[in-house]
Amino acid sequence: EPEVTQTPSHQVTQMGQEVILRCVPISNHLYFYWYRQILGQKVEFLVSFYNNEISEKSEIFDDQFSVERPDGSNFTLKIRSTKLEDSAMYFCASSQRALQETQYFGPGTRLLVL
């Protein structure tokens, strides 16, 4: 069964460094998402992406974040200058269509900022 994959599974970085989290959505899906989950808390929406542009973003998704679909398969989240509070699990998700469709989540990347 097709699934969303993410790399790396774990990332440790120093405060102020840039990180890029990578996702490969399910191949025939058109809508892509990033969410984060701080340890023990609820899942929070960051951004959605469709047709090579951001469709919607939350207040969390400020200027230090950016997303890109550099080729036909990858979807990336870049954090330009990481802060301690960026430590979280980051989930990528994809759906075939926006309406009436399940969003399928990847296994996540656990980011630790020291």
């Binding site: 929070e44 992406f49 996540g108």
Partner: protein, 114 residues
């Protein structure tokens, strides 16, 4: 701002018992999702509810949606240990289209004891 509230947040129950998890949301929505998360794992889609009165069942889990009351329930019948997990409901506000980010509740941490 859309608010999604689940209760209870923690639930310990015995195998064989029935129980219901409630999900209230604060604004008009035409889609409600239930996800399951095991510790340290990703989110697994359980149900997508798309209309008022929708009811879906899978094994010992049954979900329903009342859009007028802005309430969804997840009912567990004759619980078994394997159902121990955290259950999240998530809502998309009515928008008519677009790649919509999910707003999650805080989750219900369910422990089922023998």
């Amino acid at each position: 701002e859309l608010k999604v509230e689940q209760n209870p947040l923690f639930l310990s129950m015995q195998e064989g018992k029935n129980y219901t998890i409630y999900c209230n949301y604060s604004t008009t929505s035409d889609r409600l999702y239930w996800y399951r998360q095991d510790p340290g794992k990703s989110l697994e889609s359980l149900f997508v509810l798309l209309s008022n009165g929708a009811v879906k069942q899978e094994g010992r889990l049954m979900a329903s949606l009342d859009t007028k009351a802005r309430l969804s329930t997840l009912h567990i019948t004759a619980a078994v240990h394997d159902l121990s997990a955290t259950y999240f409901c998530a809502v998309v506000p009515y928008s008519g289209g677009g790649a919509d980010g999910l707003t999650f509740g805080k989750g219900t941490h369910l422990i089922i004891q023998p």
